[in-house]
């Protein structure tokens, strides 16, 4: 459609909003209520412009202007909100006229009537849409001489989000966000007119994606409690990176100041997370700045770990390695290590001629599907079968499935990026819940939105998949038919399926039989990449669990804490060499000969491959990690001590190798990443439990760091042991009891959470990197309640 914005003529597809036409033409209008990926509602009235269009005679010809001989433009009697106006053939939009300027200036003045103008003490100052627009479009003066409305300045909407009710301009972004994006309507306007405020009657904000409202708030009303009063926007170093919290590869912005991470914000990746991130990713960064981080290498001298120089530490290791040649040494990385670290570990293993190399946690079957689905496949799918606790494993899957339920395809990008007002989106759209089937051994969040729910007993994944494949049950048959009939069907497989080689094989068969694409949720951020790079044992006897069972005489462990298991700890105590590369002291460092300081996922430079097979850049934020290095740094230092220039001695060196192999320059990845086809690796050597009275479940919040994330700890109440009231009664537990219990040999500290929705006879507790999701035996006789002495003042 031909549209004219001021002096620029454009040809735009029908359905484009007038505000997008203005931005596409390179002009600007102010707006507060419109938001990418959400419905336009015309609430703030800032995007007013003079708009007109030609009209047609009854015979279909244009009504002509006799003076010019052109079709006559009929202007709307008042300025129009361009965000809710669709373009028409021949439309004329005028954003520069005096009428437009006056209307916008007037609206600006109106917005500021009750705004406290406390910019000097506001965390949003310097990055505030209201502030910017007031400078650009406001008159700088107010005629409002009366007392402003006063309201609560520090209202805790939840433990993680603080609301300043005076600053709110009622744009309704946050209210719409909850209904439209995660589908949990937990926030609403209360009262009316000048008294309106946003509020909730729930207990906090019961949503897994609540933090996103702090990103989209155009003023300083909604703020991330973890970063409130920590710094000004212009003092922060903004580093765009990729989250290493889960396998989605969501884009984040790390805001750091004076060597500390102050906050994490969502960043735009149109192919992956759009603008959104989950609360685990957003609020789970405080551990990085915890005071007890290891910042120098430590060497055990006379039974005590003492700070030493890198040289001293690596010389000690090099000496030991002389006697530990060949397959006596094991090297293990945690599965959120970058590709570059994987290459470095392999280079080190090759140099030391050991086949004992692995990454962990990983599952008994491959996480690289033959026919992988992308996030956009998921968001446009006609039938979805989820066999996972997707919200906890890879939260972004949850949000993108909700896109599919709305049935609106991802928007086509405009010259200025994502459309600001996508007129296809509406408030309270009907959801096609019948396209979604969710199967899990317990009640998972996504079931609220699913048309079909399948409950099964943990450990019977293979039987369930067999039933679906055979069509031997009605539900199974219907599911198979709907997957086959749909144009674009996607099957999402989580830990419970991937942990069983048999179930995994059946799921592959189901995908083949129905033509569905597969999404396999890797255990951690780079599970896909490390498997594709073959950071795997040379033979199944050399897998990580086997190393811990005694196949190695020396061990280099990065990011893992195997000594939580008492039996393993005993074995580790007898090793000739134990090198631990980690952030904090733990049970394993207590046994280590050498401890090397590691970088957190926010400080690393590197590349990860998300569950689609998308290569994404991880960039380093300026965080004070002391002498911490990533694993490429460990390899470099060891190489120096061994007198060798090892491959993978730096990110650059690893990338040189990867470039040859992948024909992909990792220094030059686009922001949205690049998908490269991969083959599944030879995963073997894992024998997960097939029985037990408890289920280790994935969790969005990383349990290993929870005690060092004070805000998340307060809001979640600690790692939970979830169980049915009947079980609680039989173990004499009551809600909020804090207990210590032995779980498959691991000593765990858990808080009791009783709920009817947990299947009777099964205890649920969060999986750890060293204790991945799956069945486990809880020794119920070992339950000990923690006693807290309450002092009464």
């Amino acid at each position: 459609m031909k549209v004219k914005v001021n002096d620029v003529e454009l040809d735009l597809p029908p359905g484009t909003s007038a505000i997008d036409a203005v931005f596409a033409a390179g002009y600007d209008v102010p707006y507060f209520c419109s938001q990418e990926y959400m419905s336009p509602i015309g609430a703030c009235r800032m995007c007013l412009a003079v708009v007109g269009a030609p009209r047609k005679e009854r015979d279909g010809s244009w009504i002509m202007d006799e003076a010019t001989g052109e079709p006559k433009i009929f202007y709307f009697p008042n300025p129009m909100a361009t965000c809710t106006t669709a373009v028409m053939e021949g439309m004329v939009i005028d954003t520069l006229s005096d009428v437009t300027k006056k209307a916008q200036g007037g609206m600006m003045e109106m917005h500021l009537i009750n705004h406290p103008l406390d910019c000097p003490t506001c965390d949003k100052g310097g990055a505030c849409e209201l502030q910017d627009r007031a400078y650009e479009y406001g008159s700088g003066e107010s005629r409002f001489v009366f007392t402003k409305r006063h309201n609560e300045k520090h209202h805790a909407l939840s433990d993680l989000i603080t609301l300043d009710r005076e600053r709110c301009i009622h744009c309704k972004r946050c209210v719409r966000y909850f209904e439209e994006v995660p589908g949990d309507e937990v926030l609403d306007f209360i009262e009316r007119g000048g008294h309106t405020f946003i509020g909730t009657v729930e207990d906090g904000l019961p949503s897994n994606f609540s933090g996103n409202i702090t990103d989209i708030c155009p003023v300083g009303a909604l703020l991330d409690t973890t970063s409130r009063f920590r710094g000004r926007n212009w003092e922060y170093d903004h580093t765009r990176s990729t989250s290493l919290d889960d396998a989605s590869g969501s884009a984040i912005t790390i805001d750091a100041r004076t060597g500390r991470i102050e906050r994490i914000k969502g960043a735009l990746n149109t192919q992956v997370n759009k603008n959104w991130i989950d609360d685990g990713t957003r609020f789970g960064h405080e551990y990085v700045d915890s005071g007890d981080r290891i910042k120098t290498p430590l060497l055990r001298k006379n039974g005590k770990l003492e700070p030493v120089t890198w040289e001293e530490a690596t010389h000690f290791i090099a000496e030991k390695l002389k006697t530990l040649s060949g397959d006596a040494l094991g090297i293990v990385l945690r599965s959120d290590a970058t590709l570059e670290e994987g290459v470095a570990a392999k280079a080190l293993a090759d140099h030391l001629k050991t086949g004992q190399i692995d990454h962990y946690p990983r599952y008994a079957s491959s996480v690289i599907p033959a026919n992988p689905a992308s996030f956009n496949d998921l968001a446009t799918a006609g039938a979805i079968f989820v066999m996972a606790d997707a919200t906890e494993e890879v939260p972004m899957i949850d949000l993108r499935i909700k896109d599919a339920l709305k049935g609106v395809n991802p928007p086509t990008l405009m010259p200025h990026g994502v459309p600001i007002a996508d007129l296809r989106l509406k408030e309270r759209m009907p959801r096609k819940t019948n396209i979604l089937t969710v199967a899990a051994p317990y009640r998972v969040d996504l079931m609220k939105h699913a048309g079909q729910v399948i409950d099964y007993k943990a450990g019977t994944e293979a039987q369930l998949l067999q039933q679906i494949l055979d069509g031997s049950t009605d539900a199974g048959k219907a599911l198979k038919e709907s997957l086959t009939a749909a144009d674009n069907a996607v099957i999402v497989l989580g830990a419970f399926v991937l942990n069983s080689a048999e179930a995994s094989k059946l799921a592959d068969d189901l995908a083949k039989a129905t033509g569905a694409k597969l999404m396999k949720l890797g255990a951690m951020a780079n599970s896909f990449g490390l498997e594709a790079q073959d950071v795997l044992p040379a033979k199944s006897d050399y897998s990580y669990p086997n190393m811990l069972a005694g196949s190695a005489k020396g061990l280099i462990v990065s990011g893992l804490n195997p000594a939580q298991n008492a039996e393993v700890a005993q074995m580790l105590g007898g090793l000739e060499l134990l090198v631990v590369h980690d952030l904090f002291e733990n049970e394993t460092t207590a046994l280590a000969h050498v401890v090397l300081p590691a970088k957190s996922g926010y400080e690393k430079e590197g590349t990860v491959v998300n569950l689609e097979g998308r290569y994404l850049s991880v960039n380093a934020a300026p965080v004070d990690g002391g002498q911490a290095v990533d694993f490429t740094g460990v390899v470099k230092e060891l190489g120096d001590a061994l007198g060798e220039r090892l491959e993978g001695r730096s990110v650059r060196s690893s990338r040189r190798l990867l470039k040859k192999e992948l024909e992909l320059d990792l220094n030059d990845l686009p922001l949205e990443g690049t998908v490269v086809a991969a083959k599944s690796g030879k995963v073997s050597g894992l024998k997960p439990n097939s029985s037990g009275n408890a289920l280790l479940v994935p969790s969005m919040v990383r349990p290993e760091y929870l005690s060092r994330n004070p805000h998340l700890l307060a809001s979640t109440g600690g790692n939970a042991l979830r169980l049915h009231p009947a079980d609680a009664a039989s173990y004499q537990l009551s809600n909020h009891d804090v207990i210590r219990v032995s779980v498959g040999g691991f000593k765990r500290l858990l808080s009791v959470h009783i709920s009817e929705s947990i299947p009777e006879g099964t205890l649920l507790l969060p999986a750890l990197p060293d204790q991945p999701a799956g069945l486990v035996q809880v020794d119920v006789n070992s339950i000990r309640k923690e006693q807290f002495a309450l002092e009464v003042a």
Binding site: E185, V186, D188, I190, E191, V201, E202
Partner: protein, 198 residues
């Protein structure tokens, strides 16, 4: 979060009323039942407590916050218990010009209450409200569901005295330009002996 278990659900014994109200709307418009359900609760209990908000949300299958949002939009739904006589003083333009502020001051002085308060006995609540739609007979005072029009100081005094005795006077209504013609005001019976400034 209010524990529903401890409070008896309002609609448990009113299944017929509930079904009638829900039956008015198609399945996809179930949330339209929010207002009639709120009204049903308020008529019986004179206000809608938090527990009832949660109950209605559960009946409709939405979040309690949404019910609260709807409820708080309308000043006719009450969050807190109101008195036996809920005095609603119209304070929009026409009534304001005709002296609703003076009426408010008078009632406030008489009852010792300010806007939004209820007295200890639970007899009176006073509230300033927006236009009651009876501008030709301003100022207007609405007591519970009854309109009292052209309420000057003396009428107000008589009315309050009557209410204190537990009598609800017949509404005096004055219509101008109506098809049915002028309805004469009933003469006010100044039964109670009023004090000094009456």
């Amino acid at each position: 979060m209010v524990e529903l278990a401890t409070i008896k659900p309002f609609f448990a014994e009113r299944q017929d009323v509930l079904n009638e109200i829900l039956g008015r709307y198609p399945d996809y418009g179930r949330r339209s039942a929010i207002m009639p359900l709120l009204w049903e609760v308020q008529r019986a209990e004179r206000y809608v407590s938090e527990a009832r908000v949660h109950e209605i949300a559960e009946i409709i299958g939405i979040q309690p916050t949404e019910v609260k949002g709807v409820m708080s939009f309308y000043s006719t739904y009450h969050e807190h218990q109101v008195g036996k006589y809920h005095l609603q003083i119209c304070s929009t333009l026409a009534c304001s010009l005709a002296g609703s502020d003076e009426m408010y001051d008078f009632i406030s002085e008489e009852t010792g209450l300010v806007n939004g308060e209820t007295d200890r006995q639970g007899l009176f609540s006073i509230q300033k409200v927006e236009c009651l739609g009876s501008c030709t007979t301003a100022p207007v005072l609405q007591v519970n569901d009854t309109y009292y029009e052209n309420v000057g100081k003396s009428r107000c005094k008589v009315l309050l005295d009557a209410l204190r005795r537990g009598e609800m006077p017949e509404p005096w209504r004055e219509r101008y330009g109506d098809n049915e013609g002028v309805e004469k005001a009933k003469p006010l019976q100044n039964t109670a002996k009023t004090g000094g400034n009456a």
